[in-house]
Symmetry: C2
Subunit: 370 residues, 2 copies
Amino acid sequence: MSHIELRCPKCGITRPADMSAEACRDCGSPMDVGYLATRDTKGDTAPSPVHETSARVTLGEGNTPCVILNTIGGRLPLGRLRAKLEFLNPTGSFKDRGTATMLSVAGERGVTELVEDSSGNAGASVSAYAARAGIKAHIFVPADAPEAKLRQIRAYGTEVHPIAGPREAVTAAAIAYAQQNALVYASHMLSPYFAEGTKTFAYEVVEQLEDDLPGHVVFPVGNGSLLIGAFNGFNELLASGRIEKIPRLHCVQSRNVMPLVAAFNGQKWGPEDAAKTVAGGISIAAPSRQWQILEILRLTGGSAVAVEESSILKFQRDLAEDEGIFAEPTSAAAFAGLEILVDQDIIQQGDDVLVPATGFGLKDEPPPSS
Amino acid sequence: MSHIELRCPKCGITRPADMSAEACRDCGSPMDVGYLATRDTKGDTAPSPVHETSARVTLGEGNTPCVILNTIGGRLPLGRLRAKLEFLNPTGSFKDRGTATMLSVAGERGVTELVEDSSGNAGASVSAYAARAGIKAHIFVPADAPEAKLRQIRAYGTEVHPIAGPREAVTAAAIAYAQQNALVYASHMLSPYFAEGTKTFAYEVVEQLEDDLPGHVVFPVGNGSLLIGAFNGFNELLASGRIEKIPRLHCVQSRNVMPLVAAFNGQKWGPEDAAKTVAGGISIAAPSRQWQILEILRLTGGSAVAVEESSILKFQRDLAEDEGIFAEPTSAAAFAGLEILVDQDIIQQGDDVLVPATGFGLKDEPPPSS
């Protein structure tokens, strides 16, 4: 018997664990992993939906360093500003945490071929772990996706399917292809296992910073899988008595694609208002877990702010030139948001803050010259 | 008083520790760090030339994962074939180990501006750590260096000096510029501190693999700093009784640039025989520490083999498509060499082998399509 089931985080409905990315049949929310039996962890390691540890598909993801940013932190000014270098995961982004879990479950369920849609970090991550697991991956991408992004995806031997039209057309084509060919749709946006895998972020933060836990964690948010995973992890650590308080979790988006910021602040915004952003990793006009993200901001006392394109690029430069950290624009957006959160006194001078640097600067297009 | 001095690994002559990259005035060998006083380590951590731990310039380098390569390892066939994912260092290559130490020493000696020559991983690494330390970096590069390589170097705000002519002209220009402007020449090829920093590789391998230490470690070798550092580290661990035996350390080069392989095997080869190789990181026609490298191969029972360009590219593809590891061609060269070492029965079927995957595939030019 399985030690897990799938559980809707919104209405609580459950169903047996499977590889389907199908949403809750009642309320439409993506499902989460629920545990039927508590395992013998002492609350120090995240529970895992993988049955056999030996069957884990791993490239050594996680255990990324936390480094102090004295220059940027001193300028704001904050107490200790730390970056967790999530781009030092095996494919260069935090996605590997989620993918490792999703592909481990797929592997032990005998999946041999799967479908995903992403022209960015998730596409590269799923491709790499699929290659490692001996699973054939079909990655659906926008026909106009930049060659630099596709290069890494193709390197892992993935079959890339370019689709014309808007981003939603790519998702629709991926789902249709999976259905027609009876393949698993291993969506980083919808899979309960992907979201579950990102929980290790919180466990590591607590292990690394221990008694020095930051008051705030500031995330760049597209689909929100890292923010959701971090919250679920912190929540488990709170329940087990390992920590006394969950940090305030904040959401940063580009002003050009800001569904969550608008919803959080009661502003009108629709996918038709979306414009191109340098922060490609958070260019998601309709996040499938929007409800869950807003609930987490509310529960932890977090906030949601939108940032200018120019500020994203400025912080990308500052991170590299002042701190030696070459991150994607998407990652830099979180620091641009942090500046606003300090300006608005939501984060106060002297507070300790942690920001995940989610993706490697090497992965993106060359930034416009300064 | 300093706890270190500089010591010639060839003739034993010493001089007080300084930031000069000058070779031994007697025999011309680059100098190493020598320790005057033993510190209070229990042999578990590498001794460091840095006086104040709090002054360390760090981006969280090291602690890279070791992963098992079942597919490639099974094909050769070996016992356990492991890759240590050195490309998951902060700038995407193992160089960060050496750079962190070199820049920490520079920082505590009050260096504010330095010079280095490299169009590749070392240039990016020195740029990043210099940025972090608030030190201005001048990186001298060949005028025809590929834009993709320069992009990362420039991102850290480095001043890039393009120099026309052969690779040696670039080094000469860097040295001349350093002399004219009374700046430190922080050469990853010559600095004793850089070589010293790479020792942590061996300490980590022993900590991670413990009783399961591989019989062989196979390195792609250009200047040989990782091989030298690893040997020095293993040697300290042997002296302290932490390990009983040093693994056999092997050297792999491209057939197009093979000074060490030729010297090891008594073949005639000169810089005039060098041709272009896809393995840019080991395209060093006259390694400044050649004597030291050959001595290490001899002492550990290692060997030196040269590989074809086509084999390098084949293993780059195999690593990505079969194991999910996207490494530079330079890193793939070591696996191509491993195949030869097995063919020649130098490494025997069933042996345990470790190979460092030294640089991220994202850092290089797109490989020719297969």
